[in-house]
């Protein structure tokens, strides 16, 4: 378990963060630009010193201002990947990959092998190239490999995709997923793009203006009011975990989420564990089970709460069994007509096509 409790002041800006990250697992530090995420990463990595606080991995104390402990970054065994890759321009890709590995203590255990990293990240054809001959995505893969080869006990990824265009991001994301699943290294992943968090993280720490405003499992935080502020109304939607049951119906995939079976227009392997995001604006609520509709998913649900939302809308939290919870955005008038209130039994309608692109393979546990 990574335990972080830090404060640092920079002029008007005060960073005051307190959170835990399970190990292994991917914990995402999520927040707007300028909310203190990168500063927090520098503090955990030991590149900056806090005013006060502690950083601890397991029983190993890395920073403790009370006891005047502040281990230098180079002795922390924490791998860092920066937004701008920071490859050494005068060294080849091979030289970059070996830079950290060459500086390991002589007696260090090396469970992460060079060949495995090169294969995992698809670097075979790149090793003799110079950094300026690489695309942005390739640079980040090399930076990732370079960090892995220092045999880190924790990996800090500071917006590794933020400087890439959409196509390059899509090119690198599968490598990040593969790395997450193949290596048992805990990861702290900084991002201000929620779709990256969806694809990679198990836990989310929500930062706003230097403070932790929410901290929990992805599903939990996906419904947190503070997240709505950050991602904007159109991206609001509950994230739920599920299991792929099969592909019975015209190429659609059936997944089990809570007590419900959802049809999704997306290919997946039966038995695969997934996370799915259902956008609040894509959910329709019916007071009786409707018929004669094109919608593929009609799910029995119980209203948990109705809260005001943007404009004339309300946000309805719906329990669909086994702690799976949906969010639906409907107009306040519709909510009044249907008499939506806590414990009312309703039907939630979700188009199978609206779920396309919102289902991701879940991290292995």
């Amino acid at each position: 378990m990574l335990r972080v409790q830090l404060t640092r002041r920079r002029g008007e800006f005060m960073l005051d963060a307190d959170f835990c990250a399970p190990m292994p697992g991917v914990t995402s530090l999520f927040g707007r630009s300028g909310c203190g995420k990168s500063t927090l990463i520098s503090l955990i990595a030991g590149l900056l010193s806090p005013e006060s606080g502690r950083v601890q991995i397991g029983d190993d104390v890395l920073t403790d201002t009370d006891r005047h402990i502040d281990i230098d970054a180079r002795h922390r065994r924490i791998g860092v990947v920066f937004q701008d890759a920071r490859l050494f321009p005068h060294l080849s890709v091979l030289g970059n990959l070996q830079y950290g590995a060459r500086r390991l203590p002589r007696n260090a255990a090396t469970p992460i092998r060079f060949d495995d990293v090169v294969t995992l990240l698809g670097l075979e054809a790149l090793t003799s190239r110079r950094p300026h001959e690489l695309s942005g995505g390739e640079k980040q893969r090399v930076a990732l490999g370079r960090a892995l080869l220092t045999q880190p006990r924790l990996l800090l990824l500071d917006e590794p995709l933020a400087s890439l265009d959409l196509a390059r991001r899509e090119e690198v994301l599968p490598y990040l997923e593969r790395m997450r699943d193949a290596m048992s290294i805990p990861i702290v992943y900084v991002s201000h793009q929620f779709d990256e968090v969806l694809r990679l993280a198990t836990r989310v720490v929500l930062l706003d203006a230097g403070r932790v405003v929410a901290d929990g499992e992805l599903a939990e935080v996906s419904r947190h009011p503070a997240l709505r502020e950050i991602v904007g109304p159109d991206a609001v939607g509950a994230v739920m975990s599920g299991v792929v049951e099969g592909n019975p119906d015209g190429g659609l995939t059936t997944i089990r989420v809570g007590d419900a079976m959802l049809l999704v227009d997306e290919a997946a392997m039966p038995g695969q564990r997934i996370q799915i995001q259902v956008l609040a604006r894509d959910v329709i609520i019916a007071s009786e089970r409707p018929s004669g509709l094109s919608v593929r998913n009609v799910v029995a649900a119980r209203v948990v709460s109705v809260t005001p939302d943007v404009g004339h809308a309300v946000l309805v939290e719906l329990d669909i069994g086994r702690t799976a919870t949906l969010l639906a955005r409907v107009t306040a008038r519709a909510a009044a007509e249907l008499a939506l209130a806590a414990d009312r039994q309703v039907w939630a309608l979700i188009k199978a096509v609206s779920l396309r692109g919102h289902m991701f393979s879940a991290p292995a546990r």
Partner: protein
């Protein structure tokens, strides 16, 4: 092609300029690094002090050197008594005077390289397990080589022509401190020295041009080598 006196002046110029660059570089790298990376009181004053030789008359620099490094000066007398080294009126002294004059040029050139260097690279090296000296030699130094080289070559080319500081501190001794510009000056003072003066001026012109061309060529090669 060249008379003995001409080739003597030419080789003396080359040797003085080369030694002045050798004196310069280690200190210039250190000072450039201090001025870009270190935070200390009096930094601005120090910066101005480093640039003084650019604005002072060279004769003043030579005179100050004479006060400090002359046989009766505080440093000069110590050097002479301890190591038997005499700087004033020797070719080593000429090299020292030349080094002081070109020092700001070298510092400036290295500083430009250092300013262009992303300090994030040093942070990255730190997270990869490199200590401060290791970071300097494995990352910083190779990446500022273009600046060091450019500064070195410019200082060498400029050093070939240093006059005022050299003649004040090291005098005009044939075979010891009479470099090309001093020989040229001497020729101009001599009746019938016009031809010699013209020949020496031509040599100086060709040397300077060659120096600048070599500098540009090296800078391009090195820039490609460090991947910029």
């Amino acid at each position: 092609m060249l008379s003995p006196a001409e080739s003597e002046a030419l080789f003396l110029s080359l040797s003085v300029a080369a030694r002045s660059v050798a004196f310069n570089l280690p200190f210039a790298i250190l000072v450039a690094w201090l001025l870009t990376r270190a935070r200390f009181a009096g930094r601005t004053v120090f910066d101005a002090f480093v640039h003084l030789p650019l604005v002072l008359p060279p004769v003043v620099v030579g005179y100050l050197l004479l006060l400090l490094f002359g046989v009766r000066g505080p440093i000069g007398s110590w050097l002479y008594e301890t190591f038997g080294i005499q700087l004033a009126f020797t070719s080593t002294g000429a090299a020292l005077a030349t080094a002081v004059m070109s020092f700001p040029l070298v510092v400036r050139s290295i500083r430009i390289s250092l300013d262009a260097l992303d300090p994030g690279l040093e942070d990255a090296a730190r997270t990869l397990g490199a200590g401060p000296l290791d970071r300097f030699f494995s990352i910083t130094l190779p990446l500022i080589t273009p600046g060091i080289l450019a500064g070195g070559v410019t200082a060498f080319a400029a050093g070939l022509g240093e006059f005022g500081a050299v003649i004040t501190f090291a005098s005009n001794i044939p075979g010891e401190t009479r470099t090309l510009p001093l020989a040229l000056y001497t020729a101009l003072q001599t009746p019938d020295g016009d031809t010699l003066a013209a020949r020496l001026a031509t040599i100086s012109f060709l040397l300077g041009l060659a120096g600048l061309l070599v500098a540009e060529f090296l800078a391009r090669r090195v820039r490609r080598l460090v991947g910029r």
